[in-house]
């Protein structure tokens, strides 16, 4: 049995004539400690998939099973990092309070604050625990969001295009941070992105979705050597081969049919 | 809405709430229907609305030009900031006794109170609006060699319009409130006085009918001004959105 199983998952928005299927009969599994990237043409339902997996959105059909238990609401073994760091951090809480807030559920008391500080230390923000989000740069804000997920000690970390709104250099730093943390804590990661380089660089496996309604087009195994390195890994012939391959699949997919004008955003 | 009315009807019919304090809605509405045929109601309404309209117009004519001048000069704004801060919170109703002394109990008193009360929201909104001019738009205008007046008309004023519209909406309801207050306290002719007289004379159903009239009037005025505001704001916001998307 895999850690996380997605079974024939479908989600349809609206009803009757206005019904728009976002994802359709998706099936895949994620093993313990695996890093899976989900990628696809824009509007293919990546975010819908992730929200269903996170238990935030009830699927129309199919199921998400975590450790043999069906996910009906957000399970406490999962943590989610959103793309919009500036909207997922609570502006009235300091970095420490933001990180400690989800720990209320675990009833840690004083320990919670200590754990929050450790987590902020791990992401390199040890000196900024008492800063408010708006006093931090975009990259630092996303680090706070990552620390918050980390302190929650999830077995599965879900990330929804987490680095899509930061600049290129910060993005590279954050990618390496995630790889490091994953190495240290052995957390399983499901990582949604629209960036092919990012998917190849980070993932053990890439799930490529079709255009909307999203189905699985192909699963690509990434056999790049560990630990990965922004310069060395990206210079490998195998890296280039993989990204060209994924790129081609997505191009074909995007051109497969004329885009329907009301194709909804991810 | 209907549900609320029927609940009200049943509690008043069964005297759960004494009908001497609050008559059943059906009775209020039948009184209202009868009153709609009487000349008094319409002349009261005309009196109240007259005070509202003239007061609002006068306040607009004073506040907007003044706001533009004050808003476009840093020094003037600084000089007048504190006096405005002090004068604004004086509840205009505090001036009721004074205007009675000076103007008597007629229409003029009502007008003065309405103007005084409406002045501040309009003035402050106009100042905000003028000061909120997009500096990039201003520099652009300047680089094209537009003169002071042209910049005022073409750049500053259009940017301030939404703020002024908001000020108008606020002032409109303040104006109605002050018109009714003047009628109630001073006894100038209008709906406020009639409501008071009906209450004192024990004509409870008439009193509530008139309150419904003033409520509907207020609601209609609110809707009109909210619509105007939304229209100019819509334009404003969509412009702002484009800026962010850029």
């Amino acid at each position: 049995m895999s850690l996380l199983e997605v079974h024939e998952l479908s989600k349809v928005y609206g009803e009757g004539a206005a019904a728009t299927p976002a994802i359709s009969e998706l099936t895949f599994a994620v093993e313990e400690r695996e890093f899976v990237c989900v990628i696809g043409p824009s509007g293919c339902g990546k975010t819908t998939l992730l929200r269903c997996v996170a238990g935030l959105l009830a699927p129309t059909a199919g199921s998400v099973v975590l450790r043999g238990k069906r996910v009906a609401r957000p399970p406490d073994e999962m943590a989610l990092v959103f793309q919009e760091y500036n909207r997922s951090l609570f502006p009235w809480m300091t970095a420490r309070q933001n990180v400690a807030f989800p720990l209320r559920r675990k009833r840690l008391g004083k320990q919670g604050a200590a754990r929050a500080e450790t987590a902020l230390d791990e992401v390199g923000l040890g000196r900024f625990v008492d800063h408010y989000p708006w006093q931090l740069s975009g990259g630092m804000q996303q680090r706070v969001a990552i620390a918050r997920a980390l302190a929650y000690q999830p077995s599965v970390l879900l990330m929804d295009e987490p680095f899509a709104s930061v600049d290129a250099q910060t993005r590279a730093d954050l990618e390496d941070l995630i790889l490091q943390l994953r190495q240290r804590f052995g957390v399983t990661v499901v990582f949604v992105t629209h960036d092919i380089d990012e998917a190849v660089y980070l993932g053990d496996r890439i799930v490529v979705l079709t255009r909307a309604p999203g189905r699985i087009r192909e699963t690509v195994l990434v056999g790049l050597p560990e630990p990965r390195d922004q310069i060395e890994t990206k210079a490998l012939a195998e890296f280039t081969r993989l990204r060209t391959h994924v790129n081609r699949v997505i191009k074909q997919e995007a051109a497969r049919q004329p885009a329907s004008p009301d194709a909804q955003g991810s | 809405m209907l549900a609320a009315l029927s609940v009200l009807e049943s509690v008043t019919r069964t005297e759960l709430i004494s009908s001497r304090h609050f008559p059943p809605p059906t009775k209020i509405f039948s009184t209202l229907a009868r009153e709609l045929g009487s000349a008094t109601l319409w002349s009261d309404l005309a009196n109240t609305l007259g005070g509202w309209a003239l007061g609002l117009a006068l306040a607009f004519a004073i506040a907007v030009p003044l706001g533009i001048v004050v808003g476009s000069s840093a020094l003037l704004h600084r000089l007048l900031a504190l006096p405005i801060e002090f004068l604004r919170p004086i509840p205009s109703v505090a001036l009721v006794p004074l205007v009675v002394l000076v103007y008597g109990t007629g229409f003029q008193s009502k007008l003065f109170l309405v103007v005084f009360a409406c002045l501040w929201p309009l003035l402050i909104q106009t100042i905000y609006g003028v000061q909120d001019t997009d500096p990039v738009a201003m520099d652009t205008a300047r680089s094209f060699g537009l003169g002071r007046t042209e910049r005022l008309v073409l750049v500053t004023l259009p940017g301030a319009v939404p703020y002024i519209a908001t000020g108008l909406r606020i002032s409109s309801s303040v104006a109605l409130m002050l018109a009714v207050t003047a009628e109630l306290v001073i006894g100038s002719a209008g709906l406020g006085r009639s409501i008071n007289l009906a209450g004192e004379g024990g004509a409870v159903e008439l009193m509530y009918a008139l309150i419904v009239v003033i409520g509907v009037t207020g609601w209609a005025l609110n809707s009109v001004f909210a619509r105007i505001e939304r229209r100019v704001l819509h334009w404003h916001v969509s412009v702002r959105r484009l800026e962010h998307a850029r």
């Binding site: 238990g55 609401r73 957000p74 399970p75 999962m78 989610l80 959103f82 909207r87 997922s88 609570f90 009235w92 807030f101 989800p102 209320r104 559920r105 408010y132 708006w134 006093q135 929650y152 | 809405m1 549900a3 001497r20 304090h21 609050f22 600084r78 000089l79 504190l82 801060e85 002090f86 004068l87 919170p89 004086i90 509840p91 109703v93 505090a94 001036l95 006794p97 004074l98 009675v100 002394l101 000076v102 309801s173 109605l176 409130m177 018109a179 009714v180 207050t181 109630l184 306290v185 409501i195 008071n196 009906a198 209450g199 009193m207 309150i211 003033i214 409520g215 009037t217 609601w219 005025l221």
Partner: protein
Amino acid sequence: MRRVTAAAIELAMALALLAVWWIWSAGSDSFYFPPLPDILATFGDTWVFARAGSDVVPSLARLTAGFSIAVVIGIGGGILLGGSRTARGAVGPIVEFLRAIPPPALIPAGIVALGIGDVMKVFIIAMACIWPILLNAIDGVAGVETTLVETARSYGIRRRDRLRFVILPAALPQIFAGMRISLSVAIIVMVVSEMVASSNGIGFFILQSQRSFAIAEMWSGILLLGLLGYALNRGLTRIERRMLHWHRATRSSALART
């Protein structure tokens, strides 16, 4: 340094205006506009503290009671209604109508139903203050960033904690905007209700002075109301700044970014 100069200019202007009033009214033999020193002297005699207990305290007590009731009901109702589109649709027209009634028009009805006592005044003040707070709270709650709520949900934060730590703080800037409007309405309604039906209070005192042609007393009352209005507004703004320091900073940093 620039702030100091600015404050100095503001203060100088205020003093200048006061001086103009002083000089203009000094030679005044107009019955309605007594010399400023007379007004100030009367102000001292009347309010420090001869009538403070008999008129200021009752006024402020009514104001506080009515305003507090409105805050509690407004925020509570806002949370209930803001969270549900159906509830908003059902209650919307009633709220729109009730808030459109100019509050002073309700005073005669208040007298009929509740008499001329404090209960009536508190009730009318609360009635007048609820709407701006309620409507703003509804908007605030309905407009809370969905990502914030989903973040809280994804971490399994309970409903009660979500309300208290996420939705309420997020809606607070709007709620304060409503409270600021309500406060000025509250002062107006307090004064009017005291003028119409009361035997004490600042509104009663001003009207009574005018009727007995105690003009300096009347002016001192107007002055007091101005000061009170200013002080109450300042107080609320100060509380707002303290509670919403994050909000101002977020907005200014967002502005700086564009």
